[in-house]
């Protein structure tokens, strides 16, 4: 019973992270396709669209992943506390 709640909380956390990820990565191809300024604007001689594709995303993945792992460990720990108290 408690386990079900833990599972649901873990799932909610994963889905939340997934939504954050999806919002960023899901919008990007469409944005680059629809907004021509992203392609025309040059930054240091390279179109902004390429910068957007290459530079910010891997660090964002890393940050999302690290935040998720921390929260997931905390959820595990609070479950352990709960079981020990009973």
């Amino acid at each position: 019973m408690y386990l079900r709640r833990l599972r649901q909380r873990q799932l909610a956390l994963s889905l939340l992270t997934l939504i954050a990820f999806g919002a960023i990565v899901g919008v990007l191809p469409l944005a680059i396709d629809v907004v021509p300024q992203l392609r025309r604007l040059d930054v240091l001689g390279i179109p902004l669209a390429i910068w957007l594709l290459v530079v910010p995303l891997p660090p964002i993945f890393l940050i999302l992943g690290a935040l998720y792992a921390r929260r997931a460990d905390a959820l595990d720990e609070s479950f352990r506390e709960l079981v020990r108290r009973r």
């Binding site: 833990l6 994963s14 001689g45 290459v54 995303l57 993945f61 890393l62 997931a72 460990d73």
Partner: protein, 591 residues
Amino acid sequence: MIAILAVAAVTIGTVGLGAMGTRLARTTSDLLVASRAVTAWWNAAAISGEYLSAASFLGIAGLEMQNGTTALWQSLGFTAGYLCLLLFVAAPLRRFGSYTISDFAEARLRSPRLRGLASGTVLLIGGFYLVPQLKGAGLTLNVVTGAPYFVGVLAVGLIVSLNVGLGGMRGITYVQAFQFWLKVFAIALPACLLLIHLGGLPARAALFGDEFPSAGAKGLAVPLSAPQPVTFPAATRYTVVVSSRGRSTARAFDAFAGERTTLPAGRLLLAPHAAVPVASGTTALRGSEWARPVGGGGERSPVFVYSLLIATFLGTMGLPHILVRFYTNPDGPAARHTTVRVLGLLGLFYIFPGIYGALGRVLVPQLYVTGATDTVVLRLPQAAWPGTVGNVLGAITAAGAFAAFLSTSSGLLVSIAGTISHDVWPRVSRERTTTVAIRRLRFRLAAVLGMLAPIVVAFFAQGVDIAVLVGWAFALAASTFCPLFLLGIWWTRLTAAGAACGMVAGAVLATSGILVGLALGEPGGVAGALLAQPAIVSVPIAFLAMIAVSLGSTERPAPDAEMLALHAPEGLDLPDLGVRDPFVLGPRAGA
């Protein structure tokens, strides 16, 4: 010459270390015990090392050169796949203790028949993934030694078969971790030095402006070993030199824009700044189109990009050789933290392939003529920096490429051979009790058998881009094992019948899309994009089929024990609820 030595050194080193590793870690449990002392960083490097294949090392740069910066989405998806693995699979699967996909399918749904289906799918995905590795090997040996394509395919197929079959179970963690840093070094150092040498990106007009790739200020001579059908993107004057019976004759032609013709074997001479013709079946892109990450038709359309992102994002968890590595994590949280580090390490590696694709467009445009853009990483150093430095850098990238497909195809073949000898063989021969010696022999035979089909397919796949081939393997994994894992881990009501239907539906859709696309000669438009990368259709359908059939079937799942094993945190003294622990099942065949 230096390149041959470098490739030989990498091969001998890998095989030798693998053999030593086996002697050190004789049984699976030894390996597991040893792994408790391995830190998350080592583990993460080992996972990344096994993951970075010919597709990452050669394929992305080749596809980028040919198709433009759309190819960079692929490296993004390859990295993001581990985020999905982290969010939904890593920790529960480590706790569950299944370390092959077949084990998971059988134990979670208590169905030996589902195990059979999962094993079949492992073979299919593994085979699909082996083909591009062999293709990369054929290309690399061709560039380095001039040997025909099929020699390289056969040679590496044989080396990997022997290595795996003769007990090189898999390089121990440290070998794979070392391979990762070797690959990062081999791709990063030449890229950085070349950028410094050239003073940044040259010839912006061809990269981002209105120009087609051009023959450069000195013109271009392209040797052709066989007649080559090409398309001229712009009106061009060109000369063809054909030699027969010791005499060479030169003839000049004028091509109009869009002209299709077949160049004879010999040498093609292009005037300075002439637009380079492209191999038929590919499209010449102007700089502005090339630099556009999404937009246009076919494999540049938004539908294709989204489909590719879905395939790579969801497919990573279904690759048979990756999952095994997670077992070397001591517990669930460690699996999580290892995966976070993998995200960082892969992000580091994928900075570099894109640089080769861009430089290749300017410096080795002759690859467009033959369509051999997959070799750009290997050929670029010599072209950009003629002389000793270029040769040394070229040797470094060749060695890195070899490391890439040796490690990946060994890992794949271990999974394939294990599946054949463990799941397929007993069904054929119907024998129940076997001795260790017979099992080991069986594993060795399976290691040879498992390599045969991919070698044959690789002979015919020479014209298909490495990155495209790998994209298919990911599409297949995403439409079969991804729904199995996500629903199996998080949804209590999944039944064996539902899982089977979903996997079959996904596999059939993905495979048929790919085959139909090939048969029709890769048609354009949205339909063509969907056939080339069917994940955006096949993945949702696989999920829906799994859910619908599970809800509809009369089977009543009661997976409390399995759910406890998947989700209960470590450090609680839980009663044994009867979930089968693979430790008890004993070492795997061949281990």
